[in-house]
Symmetry: C2
Subunit: 336 residues, 2 copies
Amino acid sequence: MKQINIKDLAKSLGISKSTVSRAFRDNSDIKPETKVRILAAAEELGYRPNLYASNLRGAKGKTIAIIIPEFGNNFFSQAIKGIEEQARAKGYYTLIFVTDDDVEKESTFIKELCNGRVEGVLMSASGEGKKHNYLRLLKERNIPLVFFDRYYEDVEAPVVTGNDYESSYAATKHLLDLGCKRPAYLVVDKNISIGKIRMQGYCDALKDAGIDMLQELIIECGNDKGQIYRVLKKSFAKLRPDGIFASVERLAMPMIRICHEEQVAIPEQLKIICFSCLEFADMLNPALSTVQQPAMEMGRTAAQILFELLQGNRKDDEPQIILLPSKLIPQKSTIG
Amino acid sequence: MKQINIKDLAKSLGISKSTVSRAFRDNSDIKPETKVRILAAAEELGYRPNLYASNLRGAKGKTIAIIIPEFGNNFFSQAIKGIEEQARAKGYYTLIFVTDDDVEKESTFIKELCNGRVEGVLMSASGEGKKHNYLRLLKERNIPLVFFDRYYEDVEAPVVTGNDYESSYAATKHLLDLGCKRPAYLVVDKNISIGKIRMQGYCDALKDAGIDMLQELIIECGNDKGQIYRVLKKSFAKLRPDGIFASVERLAMPMIRICHEEQVAIPEQLKIICFSCLEFADMLNPALSTVQQPAMEMGRTAAQILFELLQGNRKDDEPQIILLPSKLIPQKSTIG
């Protein structure tokens, strides 16, 4: 015989599922006679309230957390679409937490999550050069963690990220091949792993081309919008680079704006390329050359690994770091 | 004497806080002798595990949910920034749920949230023309709801939204003043409240200018990216409007792309204006005329109302609908 569910029970009584659910909770506002009627029907039809109670608590058992450093960034929007696609296929909810690139907030969220709220965590890291002891809590509670995009080298967990070294090398070489002699590298924070890896690609491409790498052309812009603009404006005036390789899109956009303001011709006087998942990079003025990461695929893959871990299906010898290749898309901002 | 907290207790025992916390939970994996040691120390030092237990449950008491129809839209990104700013000032966490404009998912989320997960809900509605009985659950559970941007007319709850009628009227009049005779109105779904209200502004501006409103120039584009492109391409070829007023940014962008592809000159042959919170609308090719909503302010205000409701500070005679004015920003895509 088919196990009766709450829907069947509610239907048989001609009442809502939520009323049935209330009958099985102690502190609910429900008429005593209604409660008696529901409990009697449940007994008669063989409805197992325990099953339902566990389904109620199931909120915990069916949720994964996504922790990201920033909101409203095309990369993360697309990565989250990839994650949600997988999560929904598996019947999981997702909770999204935004840290504003603040490792303290990340730590607070993790501690919060350890209070039994989620089964697994997908995270893009917010800050390095700090201690990440709080992530041990996840291990203690048996909550698997998978990094996507940005990760901590000192934390043992699977990582799905871009082939950032290779694509940064290729982007820098693209500038050099087009004649740049003094390309600058723009980074938010040198201490975040992706910032470092992308910088290494930049440095090595210069070296292989026989060009001396100048420390001053590695420009650390910070996170605040006003600050980024001021740093770029000042650095550009002082250093006059002939190329820009921006490690994230939001550093390239104000650079383009400064060129508009100061009537610097792109690409004649300054060639610009950046990591970006902007869907309409080709509709900008000028169309922007990009290194396009497979953001959705990255989210999808990270989620798949998390579900393997949750289901105990992941083999011990699976690789810990998975690199997904980015695509260099030349447009007017470099090739004219 | 200072009330001892979990940190003090852990420190006095030379163990981690998480180990202490596990001692107070029944089903935790902790060595019996460690548990005994912790409980004894707690007794001795006057540590109140109840306080901690309620802090554990406090996860519920300190969280609000944000339900939005889509992710990676500039309006929602900024609105969420406004909400998070307020939530953090009040010490609340936020959980973000994305419905993909699917009213079924919205309903599922709401039911999920009613399982005691959050204290309050901020929501931008996903679909009209459906029954919204599931929202009654929130009221039954005493979980306040505040709408921002998109709302349901049949649900009683405070609403913070834009002055969409006035700004749509103004955007349409802007096109007419510049000489448009056949401006089209682009909408995702006529049945969503903002779509309807914005359409009314468009219709009334035409009427007041003595121009007949043509049903065929109200173009319903749907939600799928491929579909939007096809609908726009086909409609443009057939109807040849001389102006476009797009109710959301993601309908204007493919229209600009089609103009690029078909070498339609903007604004000479087609003037384009749209609702948008794109930060670099002025850096597009051509710079895009926009109706800019105060997205962050909208999120901030909605959150403030929710906290008033949660704290019982909101007066009964406060307005149920708060309209925040948008700003019309003319750029090259209309004025050349």
